[in-house]
């Protein structure tokens, strides 16, 4: 087939990009080469719209072993242990086929982690659906949850936390972000940079089929009415093979025969071979006739672009082929030597003794386009003047119940009970708390992790939104007694070619950067997903932050379950009464405008570190950060989880009670302390200039506030736990 501009455009390349290719190459590429270019130059692989801004992220820190740029980030957790982690999106495939899309998303991120030599020890996910009333939502939710569980459960890695939200902006474009954490010996980390000439290039794992050809370019395409035609590109996950691949790779890694290893993710063999060779400043030669194929008559083009799952590419030391092959034979996986490294700085591809592609590597990676796209700044919206007399008709207990059953606040047990969260025998905090916690097997250490995002805040003001998610993530880790160490981010945005969407992206990244710098909470890995829009309507900007923290002694972990009647509850951090963009304002007052709560990084850090200190000093019995819904919702969740009540004190000369109870001011926590410790705790708080309020006292089984709230915990619990189950069963 003669390649021309039209074919290039059908491959997702822009006309001037095609011109650039031809002029760089000084010829017209053949179809296989065009396929390779289209894969490498699309947004998903080249980060052409985002690279400029991602450079500004804060990526350095004392504990960072590997920042962005590898398959996953790596942090040092002491002794010889390191944690490898990353989050990745699988949005478009999951919308087309929720089960397989979500399943292969989980499979893909796990491969990113074990490629580096780490055994996965925990999975997390952040999933976002359209309005519950939308006709597709229920099936998408069911399929995605089954897919995530289907894959993770089968591999035997616990899913320990996550986040689920609903918003109509996801009606035609759901988000599925999957995160994995792995444990590795810091001296045995594997990278994707090839080294040495004439080293064998090995293909292992499943056979190659025609699945997912052009998956990467699809991930960077806008959905339109023709989406149905794109359906056949969906890949099917095979978690069983992945489990074998995991064990086989770890077995091979125990011995010193791997020079470089890279999973075949988006753009399959193309991006893995190009990346390994270009990182090593080498060339690579492949013979595609040697690639194990599942289907007959596959063309070089198809082999290079297939996104069949559960495959890896390895550059091996010379002479290690046989011993490596034995391991893969034992695990019943394909193993083939398909090429070698060269010093040509080119990728040369042969098929049936004919050269079918010959491209300089720098054109594919370094010379890939990088755009400085136009972007629009977002003004901070005007603050809303809420009329207090409007509150008069509201009853506190009705408001509380309404918030507790709100889809974005209510209990997500229906979801996480379908995930195996206890396999591997080290889960000490399961989903449903502020962060999931797993022990580092056989040690006193534990790792806490959470994923957070806030599309509402980010949409209202991207800069604040970016800061807020980082802070919320940090808070969730502090709340379980962990020291927050680093984050991974998945940036889900609309169309970067539109100034508004690009502006949202740029400013969210700025916000993330500011907060992570201030909190010394660096970004070590991440992923960008653009073009999340359907029929011209973009999603709300949704940066998901996956935070990872260290607990030096797992016995010091705490949770949000109230411990004892008579203990006191304090609110840490000042409640200013910021209602704009709160769930209360949006859902009960139907006021969707206004700025998100302000982020005061000084207070955030000071409050967090002080809570941390109190936890270290064994002065806190339970702790929960205040997030969506405000103080009353947070207090209710503590009650529901522990089946105990709280009697809230009468508020003396405070701000308006609706503002106090439902505002979503940041940097706040609820802590439970023993009466005897009150003076010690107060002293530490005052010494550190941390604002606090006495909220109330733990009681047996009632949620009480003066004569306005008198609810049994069973009532609260039914409201909180009822919505999702009912929604899914009906």
């Amino acid at each position: 087939m003669e390649v021309n501009e039209k074919i290039a455009v059908d491959h997702g390349l822009k006309k001037d990009e095609f011109k650039k290719i031809c002029s760089l190459l000084k010829r017209i590429p053949n179809i296989t080469e065009l396929g390779i270019f289209s894969a490498m130059w699309n947004e998903h692989c080249s980060y052409k719209s985002s690279r400029k801004h991602l450079k500004n992220l804060h990526t350095k820190g004392k504990k960072v072993i590997q920042g962005p740029g590898e398959n996953a980030g790596v942090i040092d957790i002491g002794d010889d242990d390191a944690i490898v982690f990353k989050i990745e999106s699988h949005n478009h495939p999951s919308f087309i086929e929720p089960y397989q899309g979500a399943a292969t998303g989980v499979g893909g991120i796990m491969r990113d982690v074990f490629t580096m030599g780490a055994r996965p020890i925990a999975n997390l996910n952040s999933i976002h659906f359209g309005s519950p009333q939308h006709k597709k939502t229920k099936n998408l939710l069911r399929g995605v949850v089954k897919g995530i569980g289907g894959y993770g459960n089968c591999i035997g890695v616990p899913t320990i936390a996550g986040q689920t939200s609903f918003d109509e902006s996801y009606n035609g474009n759901i988000l599925v972000n999957a995160m994995t954490l792995g444990l590795v010996n810091k001296k045995k980390i594997f990278y994707s940079k090839a080294a040495g000439v004439n080293k064998p290039v090995i293909y292992v794992g499943s056979k190659t089929g025609r699945d997912g050809i052009h998956g990467a370019s699809m991930a960077s395409a806008i959905f339109d009415d023709k989406i149905e035609e794109k359906k056949p590109t969906v890949q099917v996950g095979d978690p069983f093979t992945e489990k074998l691949l995991l064990e086989a790779c770890l077995e091979l890694m125990a011995d010193n025969s791997i020079i470089a290893i890279q999973d075949m993710g988006a753009a399959g063999l193309t991006s893995s071979s190009v990346e390994m060779a270009s990182k090593g400043k080498l060339g690579i030669e492949l013979d595609l006739s040697k690639v194990p194929c599942r289907e007959e008559k596959m063309t070089p083009y198809e082999i290079m672009l297939s996104e069949s799952q559960e495959r890896m590419l390895i550059v091996l030391e010379n002479g290690k082929e046989n011993s490596a092959k034995k391991i893969f034979d034992k695990w019943n996986l394909d193993f083939a030597v398909i090429g070698r490294t060269t010093n040509t700085k080119k990728i040369e591809i042969n098929f049936n003794n004919k050269k079918v592609a010959d491209l300089p590597l720098d054109l594919l990676s370094e010379n890939a386009p990088m755009y400085d796209r136009k972007w629009k700044k977002n003004k901070l919206p005007q603050k809303i003047k809420f009329k207090k007399q409007n509150f008069k008709s509201l009853k506190l207990s009705d408001c509380l119940k309404k918030l507790l059953k709100h889809p974005n606040i209510c209990d997500k047990q229906w979801i996480w009970e379908q995930y195996d969260h206890t396999v591997m025998g080290d889960t000490i905090q399961k989903p449903g708390g502020d962060a999931g916690v797993v022990r580092v097997h056989g040690t006193e250490k534990a790792i806490a992790a959470s994923v957070d995002s806030s599309a509402q805040y980010s949409y209202a003001h991207p800069l604040s939104g970016g800061k807020q998610v980082v802070c919320e993530s940090w808070r969730n880790l502090i709340s379980v007694g962990a020291e927050p160490v680093a984050i991974t981010n998945c940036l889900n945005f609309g169309n970067p070619e539109k100034e508004e969407n690009m502006g949202e992206f740029v400013e969210c990244v700025q916000g993330i950067t500011e907060a992570s710098k201030y909190l010394d909470y660096p970004v070590v890995s991440g992923n960008v997903s653009f073009y999340n829009e359907t029929k011209d309507k973009g999603i709300k900007p949704t940066p998901s932050i996956g935070g990872v923290g260290l607990i030096k002694n797992y016995k010091k972990m705490i949770n949000m379950n109230l411990k004892k009647q008579g203990n006191l509850i304090l609110v840490i951090g000042k409640t200013e009464g910021h209602l704009d963009q709160s769930t209360f304002a949006r859902e009960i007052l139907s006021e969707k405008k206004g700025p998100p709560p302000e982020i005061n990084l000084f207070n955030e850090k000071n409050n967090g570190l002080t809570v941390s200190k109190l936890i270290k000093d064994n002065l806190i019995e339970s702790c929960h950060d205040v997030s969506l819904g405000g103080v009353l919702v947070a207090a209710s969740k503590m009650c529901i989880k522990s089946n105990k009540g709280i009697k809230i004190n009468n508020l003396k000369n405070l701000i308006n009670k609706f503002e106090y109870f439902f505002s979503e001011d940041q940097g706040r926590y609820l802590i439970e302390i023993k009466k005897d410790n009150l003076s010690k705790v107060k002293k530490i708080l005052m010494d550190n200039s941390v604002h606090f309020d006495d909220l109330g006292v733990v009681n047996d089984d009632k949620f009480l506030f003066s004569d306005e709230i008198n609810l049994s915990i069973d009532d609260l619990s039914m409201v909180y736990k009822g919505w999702l189950k009912k929604y899914m069963v009906n």
Binding site: D211, V234, Q235, V236
Partner: protein
């Protein structure tokens, strides 16, 4: 009236189950088995006397629920 439906994976779509079954059969001594593809089968009792009507109803159901047309085909037998 009973209508029977077979749902199979489209050609080219990976069938991990079929593959595992085939390998097991080979391992059990059934060496002549070259490929196994697994599908689903449904026996559907429709309250309807006319065959064409029943079948067209089932076809509709297949499209809407029983088969995932993204990766599967169906056949009413």
């Amino acid at each position: 009236m009973k209508i029977k439906v077979i749902v199979t994976l489209k050609n080219g779509v990976l069938d991990p189950q079929g593959k595992a079954i085939q390998q097991t059969l080979n391992g059990m001594g059934f060496e002549s088995i070259k490929e196994v593809r697994q599908g689903k089968y449904f026996d559907i009792e429709v309250n309807e006397n006319e065959e064409t009507k029943a079948k067209s109803k089932v076809e509709d159901m297949c499209k809407k629920l029983l088969a995932n047309l993204v990766i599967e085909d169906f056949k009413i037998i």
